[in-house]
């Protein structure tokens, strides 16, 4: 009888201790709530937001200051891509300097909507022409805008890049 009463009150006290234990944690965090905030005010911190080097946001074709890229149109990335998000349209055109016919890209089409950012195209590229950009704000109002042409107008192959 007394044992049961003792157990009853012990149970209550233990429960209260457990509850207070939990409240101590949350109480601790609200006491220094300002210091411990873990969320970011995202669109406001755009200017200071620094992505990591290896962050994979989208595929970009690198151009240097003379509007030259390193893509020879070998289509290795197109083959490597699991989703068919890269399409390279190339043609043999006459090189104005040597007069020889040379394979050149016309358009480097990139379907962002199909890309899974797996990085396989970057690994496949023999001339390091493409890399992963850091831009992650891809939302657009029209789906067709997600199909991008990566080579800039008038750009041509950088000198010295082997075919």
């Amino acid at each position: 009888m007394f044992r049961a009463i003792y157990e009853y009150f012990k149970e209550i006290l233990l429960a209260i201790r457990g509850l207070i234990n939990g409240m101590r944690i949350t109480g601790k965090y609200i006491a220094h709530a300002r210091k411990e905030i873990i969320t970011q005010e995202y669109p406001d911190n755009r200017d200071t937001l620094q992505m990591f080097d290896r962050f994979r946001g989208e595929v970009v074709l690198l151009h240097n200051e003379n509007n030259e890229h390193r893509c020879t149109g070998c289509s290795a990335c197109e083959v490597a891509c699991p989703n068919g998000s890269i399409e390279i349209i190339w043609a043999r055109r006459e090189d104005p300097e040597t007069g020889k016919k040379k394979k050149q890209i016309e358009t480097f089409v990139y379907h962002l909507s199909m890309c899974t950012m797996c990085n396989l195209c970057i690994l496949a590229c023999p001339t390091d022409a493409i890399k992963m950009g850091h831009d992650f704000e891809h939302a657009v109002f029209d789906r067709s805008q997600l199909t991008k042409v990566l080579n800039r107008p008038g750009s041509k192959l950088e000198k010295g890049v082997e075919e």
């Binding site: 939990g22 944690i25 949350t26 965090y29 709530a33 411990e36 873990i38 969320t39 005010e41």
Partner: protein
Amino acid sequence: MYDFTTLVQSIGNFLHGQFSPGVATALEWTLVILVYLALYAILGLVLVYVERRVCAFFQLRLGPNRVGWAGTAQTVADALKLLLKEPVTVNKADKLLYNLAPFIITLAALTVISLVPFAKGLQAFDINIGLLFIVAVSSLGVVGILLAGWSSNNKYALIGAMRSGAQIVSYELSVGLSLLTMVLLTGTLQLSTIIETQANGWWIFKGHVPAIIAFFLYLTASIAEINRGPFDLPEAESELTAGFHTEYSGLKFAFFFLAEFVNMFTVAAIATTVFLGGWMPFHLGDWAGFNAVMDFVPPILWFFLKVSAVIFLMMWFKWTFPRLRIDQLLKLEWKYLMPLNLMNLVFTAILVYLGWHG
């Protein structure tokens, strides 16, 4: 001490001087209704904001901080959004009850705050059975919840409503009993008199251990009665999506939402009135200087400070504890709160019989 009696009386005299007695009374009522409706809306908006902010800080977030200064206009924006939303009515719902339910809940919540004494003389309805009235009216809300759950023709809503019925009927007892314990000490049911009896010390201090126990029992039971976490079973969002108000949208949902927060205020206000001395300032024995400083703070501020403290405690509970299960909830009431309350009542009776109280 600030006294609102003169102000209230002068308004009354002015009205009675200008108009015939019937019109004056009608105008008085209209005035009171308008003030309380405004208070209801403001309380709801402020509490929603406070809840979101406090919850955010508990969770290491910032919470709403864009609209208005530090996000203060966020709830206004949300209220506008809810107003503009399309009121969706379920096809096979019982239209009359479905539309009636939010109003019953609002009515119950509104009636209870009319009894709350905000400061001396600032009380709309000071009847001599105040506490009894509160206990009686506050449980009216369950009718609204049951109607909402039943009429919306949704199984989740029905389960939520049934849970709520069982929950409120049980916890009503504990709320009543813990307040009864305090009535033994105060010797009155009238809220203004209860506060008067605490002029020389709040009941939680001079009521010895039974008052402290009664305070926590009251708090637990009344949190359960107003369906707040950790007792928010009728709307347990992980089990029943939104419980009894699953099918409500727009303004009708806003009514439920506001009533929930105003109920929270009511609970805190009653706890303040009965246990924490209402609008009485905090006094420390013979420290005349300290007491004078405390007296300087207006009583209405004291009242709201105490209410905020209790509300903060309730939020702390909610954002720390997991939710109980329905059978555990009832077990808590019938196995722990009820017996403790009864024991407490006997102790208090002995205390009062021996004349040890205040």
